[in-house]
Amino acid sequence: MLTSRDALLMPLAATLLACKTSTDDTAIVPTEGFSHQPVSTCESPLDAVAYEERGAALGLLGGPDPDGEHQQGGAIAVLDIDGDQDLDILTSFRFQNTVIHRWNGESFDTEMLDAPYEPWNMSLGDVNNDGMLDVLVSGMREPMVLLGNGTDFDGMSLPDFPIPDPNTSIAQSFGVIDLDLDGALDVYAVVNTGGAAPTDEDMADFMMWGDGTGSFEVDTSLPSTTARRGFDAVITEWRGQQALYLVNDMGAEFGGDVLMVADGRDIIDVTDEAGTAVAHSGMGGDIADWNEDGRADIYITTSITGHVLWSSQDDDTYFDEATSVGALGIAKENGMGWGAAFVDYDNDGDQDIIDAQGDQWGQNDPDSFRFDQPIWLLEQTEDDIFEEVGGPLGLATTGSYRSALAQDFNNDGVPDLLVSDVLAPPHLYLSKGCTKNGWLQVVAPINSRVEIDVDGKTKVDWSTTHSGYAATHEPIVHFGLGEHEIVDALRVTDPYGNSWEYEHPFQGRRRVIVGSPAGFWD
């Protein structure tokens, strides 16, 4: 490490460096399509990751409903709303409008938006192609788009929905994806009938084809297998093309999960080919390449029956390994899994899982249960199994948790964890400091495939904005590098086949921006 005294010699030293011919440069070469943020050095690494819960102390607000009705509360969205280069948070709870929590450098300032009122779910995407992220809001009340304007949002209605009875059927959640690859993000609307009897007419999902201006054309000609009790739409990749995995609730009665791809605007059900026909009470899902075969694996949270870990196989089918690897993710009988997301929390290079559990409480459901549940952090061990490690790291708590996501709020390279509670302010688990393990964050166009080479191995992830049940964040991919500090290559391919390749070794512990992803990226 140079001292300030050494720095006085830098005019000469730097010139010598500049003129030196080197075959092992790890500086980023200026390249079109790639930009980067500074390396975040770790002067005093902690021995291991440690978290401190700071949500309420920093100003995060919970909902006003003491009864915490089931899925009606706890959606979270994390993005830089105002371009000040830090992460802000949107929350939604029953009996109130959406709340902005704006980071001011020391704490969150809160403000309530004029609309929407008590949305159930939020999804991020740039639907009007203005370079800023928008928030698509779904739930019991009128779904809408919050168009990012650089400071806050302009509200905009969505088209009239083809739902016969809006008192019983709702757009539970939205999948944001350019399914027809026309350059404009589309929205897949997952329909939930609540307690109504299932019929094809009032349960079918529908598409909203975007035109890139924020306008949509509604399309109800989806496969009949989408007429189920939908809960979540997971953007994924199957056989090299983007795909949608539909997580369905009460599958035993209404039908199981569905995997779909598109050919233009023809949507094709490939569930049988992929072997993902599972019937359960699914809540949400997230993707990562946990088994490191280059294909997307899917983690599905459920109630009662235990979670599903769809591990991709060489023949493009999936095999549920949740039981065999210890990722069932429900602590108590009659407990319920809600939000979950893959995260390499300790940057050791292996995907772990944050698992937010809650209860089945419903005011109008006499059979529902109400009891506190834990948050689990399932760490993938060297034996490729998962072990709960959250308690010792500072996550020992119980509550009625809903959504979960991982983002680096305090910019130390260790993923921080945000978990909402239907009854209380969100928990924000901030890391107490950086660690010795290296890392890299890649910001890429939405739903791109991101690959890095590290120490002779290729790691893959996808820049979706989805993070399990009712959680969404900017299209940032986080890779743990383990003991390595250098990334040998970076490749990004967007859904249109555009690719960016950077084949020079470069220093990690930083954020690299590829292409022109929506958001305030330099």
């Binding site: 720095a7 500049a18 500086a27 980067h36 022109s516």
Partner: protein, 257 residues
């Protein structure tokens, strides 16, 4: 080597593109003598935030010049948060890559990092060690008054010294600053009044010219007996400054009496 050092010290501005298409990009043509040798583009995006205006610089510089030993090619990309001193630069000179980064703590202290030759070096400096980062030179709105104030100290007989952290090398360059007063520069078919300053670190004089609004119009330096000059393009200056009277006269209708 000295030639390169002087040349690198000149390249304090940079480029890039942003997706916010409404943000104007200024282009500068780089000339060595009468010969065009490259260009620099500069975009400053202003974002209104709850805590004030954030000014984000993105720049790209690219040029090639002949040397006795062969052609010297240089590319540089910079992103900076103007006013704060934070910047990151990626540089490729003749196939050698390096990165220069600076980060300022809330108390003004600097952390400077260089990545080069497969090594990362980082060191801390007190706030008083640096007056400006070279990226600030493009931000005339914030820099012009600082240069004016520093240069004005010469009135009491002292020699004002400007200490600049070079985004090209990570070096701190220190040299006297002189106020040249107001002069006129020709940009295309336009005459622009500009306030000039000469800064001479290590005896290598660099001259900077700003409009009263703080737009960097051009700069120049003597390098190896040749004059390297950067001058803003006419199209860029037109989108930044108020139109000339003769350019708008056709749109002005005489008011009926």
């Amino acid at each position: 080597m000295r030639f390169l050092a002087a040349l690198l010290c000149l390249v304090f501005l940079s480029i890039g593109t942003v997706h916010a298409s409404e943000t104007p990009t200024n282009r500068y043509t780089l000339r060595l003598g009468d010969k065009e040798v490259g260009e620099r583009t500069v975009t400053i995006r202003q974002l209104e935030t709850p805590t004030g205006t954030l000014r984000l610089l993105q720049g790209w510089t690219s040029f090639a010049i002949p040397l006795p030993a062969g052609k010297f090619q240089y590319r540089q990309r910079i992103a900076a948060r103007l006013g704060e001193g934070n910047f990151t630069a990626a540089i490729d000179d003749n196939g050698n890559a390096r990165e220069i980064q600076a980060h300022r703590a809330p108390d003004g202290a600097w952390q400077v990092t260089i990545i080069s030759g497969g090594a990362l070096k980082s060191w801390a400096l007190p706030a008083s060690a640096i007056d400006l980062a070279s990226t600030d030179f493009v931000d005339g709105e914030q820099t012009l008054w600082k240069l004016e104030a520093l240069a004005a100290t010469a009135e009491d007989g002292s020699t004002p010294i400007l200490k600049v952290l070079a985004a090209e090398t990570g070096a701190i360059l220190e040299g006297p600053l002189k106020d040249l007063g107001i002069d006129e520069l020709e940009v295309g078919d336009r005459t622009v009044a500009a306030h000039g300053f000469t800064w001479s670190p290590e005896g290598q004089a660099t001259t900077l010219w700003y409009t009263a609004e703080g737009l960097l119009v051009g700069w120049s330096s003597q390098v190896g007996g040749q004059r390297l000059e950067g001058l803003i393009d006419a199209a860029s200056i037109s989108q930044t400054l108020a139109p000339r009277i003769e350019d708008v006269s056709g749109d002005i209708e005489e008011e009926a009496l």
